[in-house]
């Protein structure tokens, strides 16, 4: 090896101002980084392009281990398969144990395994600790315990691995005593998913309190005792999925997408303090008055997807672009869609604003006459796309639509001299297409110029 000496430069003070250390061979800089705390080492990426390049050339690993065994009624045989799996994992992890002069980055560590005996829990502990010592960026654990074998308890230190940006836990257990009430240590997670994890909802609240960088959070069917979600600190949270809960209280000022599925549950005006939500999906919840004034609760809401339980549903919003409604019971509730809360109380129909461009209905029950329903829907909004799911119930409605939405005359005479005309006057073209998975897809096109007053119409059946 020949090392070239650079021309020595001198700055104004006559002192040698050469950037030598950066010129060292890569493996020596790797050695230096290895001897620094991980945070300091990672910060060198921003020093200069050559230092970033040195960081990029660190050895990186992706590990995916899946035992793929299925229980065939023979415990001995099953355990043998698991032993074999454990041996192969140990072998694959050897490189992580070996190197002592360079940082190694574990970009992904994924493990899916069935625990047939509690002895395997400590094996898993060792694997995770090994990955923790190296720089681990993403951890995925899906662990099923067989009868009588307890759930796998995640080692406390894992949450505090500084480089860990993504954590997914399925079927494990998280202890509450990791996170004291006076917790000040930071967790640097950006994405956290907890599915079927045995954990107290208050512990989850505490975990989230330590995560200043969290952008995505999913909680699905955790907390066996109290199926609740309580999030009071989530400054960067953008996307949240909360499934299998009965009660929600979430405060997330930057949240943009929110998906909630109840167990079933109940929502009220206290449930949400998330002014920036653009996309909202709610199913299996009683919503009481939550949607009567979407403008104040969710002023930026553009997409709303509802599967509702209440018998009466009132929606009021002036920004909504896409609305999807699914009626799970065999009753179409009294539906009122308006674009300001004041108008909901009036009974006079007023011409609509067409901010809702996409309207989707499912499970439309069989009725004698759908005219009123159609009037109500198309008064409230002028969707460009009306999507009806062709389940067995909605078929009747679809047939009705195909007959009714045919343009018969140029100028319909239904509204006489009234300056407020019904939707029939605006209807330009209708196109009906069967959609891919058997959904009828009825396209309803309207003229563009519309008045800007608001409409409210109650539909009863």
């Amino acid at each position: 090896m020949v090392f070239e000496r650079k021309q020595k430069r001198r700055n104004l003070d006559g002192v040698d101002a050469l950037d030598r250390i950066s010129q060292l061979p890569e493996h020596i800089i790797h050695h230096i980084l290895f001897l620094m705390p991980h945070k300091d080492a990672a910060r060198t990426t921003v020093l200069s392009k050559s230092w970033k390049q040195v960081w990029n050339s660190l050895p990186r690993y992706d590990f995916t281990f899946c035992d793929g065994t299925y229980y065939d009624n023979s415990p001995a045989h099953f355990e043998k398969k698991i032993e074999k799996f454990v041996r192969s994992v140990n072998e694959d992890l050897l490189p992580l144990r070996e190197h002592k002069t360079t940082i190694q980055i574990v970009q992904q560590f994924r493990l899916r395994m069935t625990l047939c005996h509690h002895k395997y829990a400590s094996r898993i502990d060792n694997w995770i600790k090994l990955a923790n010592r190296n720089l681990m960026e993403s951890l995925y654990l899906e662990l099923t315990s067989m009868n009588k074998v307890g759930r796998y308890v995640l080692p406390k230190t894992t949450f505090f691995v500084e480089s860990l940006a993504e954590l997914t836990l399925k079927g494990c257990k998280v202890l509450g005593n990791y996170f004291g009430d006076d917790m000040i240590k930071s967790i640097y997670l950006r994405k956290l998913t907890l599915e079927r994890v045995d954990v107290n909802y208050l512990t989850i609240t505490k975990i989230l309190r330590c995560c200043p960088l969290l952008e995505e959070f999913t909680q699905s069917n955790c907390c066996v005792k109290a199926k609740r979600v309580h999030i009071n600190y989530a400054p960067k949270l953008k996307k949240a999925k909360l499934y299998g809960v009965k009660k929600i209280k979430i405060e997330a000022p930057n949240l943009e997408e929110l998906y909630c599925r109840g167990d079933p549950g109940r929502l009220d005006s206290d449930s949400f303090a998330c002014n920036n939500v653009k996309k909202l999906k709610i199913s299996m919840f009683e919503t009481s008055k939550l949607f009567e004034d979407l403008n104040s609760k969710f002023p930026l809401l553009e997409t709303l997807d509802l599967q509702f339980y209440d018998s009466k549903l009132k929606i009021s919003s002036d920004r909504l672009k896409s609305l999807s409604l699914l009626c799970p019971n065999k009753q179409l509730p009294m539906l009122q869609i308006s674009f300001s809360p004041e108008e909901l109380s009036k009974d006079l129909p007023i011409p609509p604003i067409a901010t809702v461009e996409h309207l989707e209905l499912g499970n439309v029950p069989i009725m004698q006459d759908y005219t009123a329903l159609l009037d109500g829907l198309l008064w409230s909004c002028h969707p460009k796309v009306l999507l009806i799911r062709a389940d067995s119930e909605s078929k009747e409605f679809v047939n009705f639509l195909s007959e009714t939405l045919v343009i018969k005359e140029e100028e319909p005479k239904c509204c006489g001299d009234s300056h407020m005309k019904c939707w029939r006057h605006y209807l330009k073209a209708v196109k009906s297409e069967p959609y891919l998975d058997g959904m009828e897809y009825v396209k309803v096109c309207h003229c563009d110029a519309l008045s800007d007053s608001i409409s409210a119409l109650e539909i009863c059946h």
């Binding site: 030598r20 991980h38 480089s163």
Partner: protein, 147 residues
């Protein structure tokens, strides 16, 4: 048994074999029987070679006295960046593990706890990133830049 080592600037150093074979590179040469004549070391100048050989000699002499050795090492490594750089390259070329490790540790200690701006000043690094590029890089390892 004495060996003769020649630096890049043609200075000859006579050393005990026991001292010289702390360099794995020289050790291999000895084992292969190539050490009978003067061993040329074109990548190490005399100033650096003198320091390296001092390290090796003291590691033989003080082998059994850990405390004394540590004191020596700490004093030895108090050098300016130019010398440190030369030591790193020499330790690498001559394959002297403990010297390489100690020198790397010295650099690591120099950089620990400093902000990127401070490190750039210490090492005379020129920042060739645009502000946008720098912002992107910070986002990639956000955890490292979060206080």
């Amino acid at each position: 048994m004495a060996l003769e080592l020649k630096s890049s600037d043609n200075k000859i150093f006579e050393v005990e074999e026991l001292v010289a074979v702390q360099s794995e590179t020289i050790k291999s040469l000895v084992e292969d029987g190539c050490a009978d004549n003067v061993i040329p070391l074109p990548n190490v100048d005399s100033k650096t070679l003198e320091l390296v050989l001092d390290w090796c000699k003291n590691h033989v002499d003080m082998k059994l006295d850990e405390e004394k050795l540590k004191e020596y090492e700490d004093k030895f490594i108090e050098v300016d960046q130019a010398v440190l750089y030369d030591l790193l390259l020499a330790a690498n070329y001559l394959n002297i593990k403990d010297l390489l490790n100690r020198a790397c540790q010295k650099v690591a200690d120099m950089l620990k706890g400093k902000t990127p701006e401070q490190i750039r000043e210490t090492l005379n690094i020129v920042n060739d990133f645009s502000p946008e590029e720098e912002e992107e890089i910070r986002k990639e390892n956000l955890w490292a830049f979060e206080e």
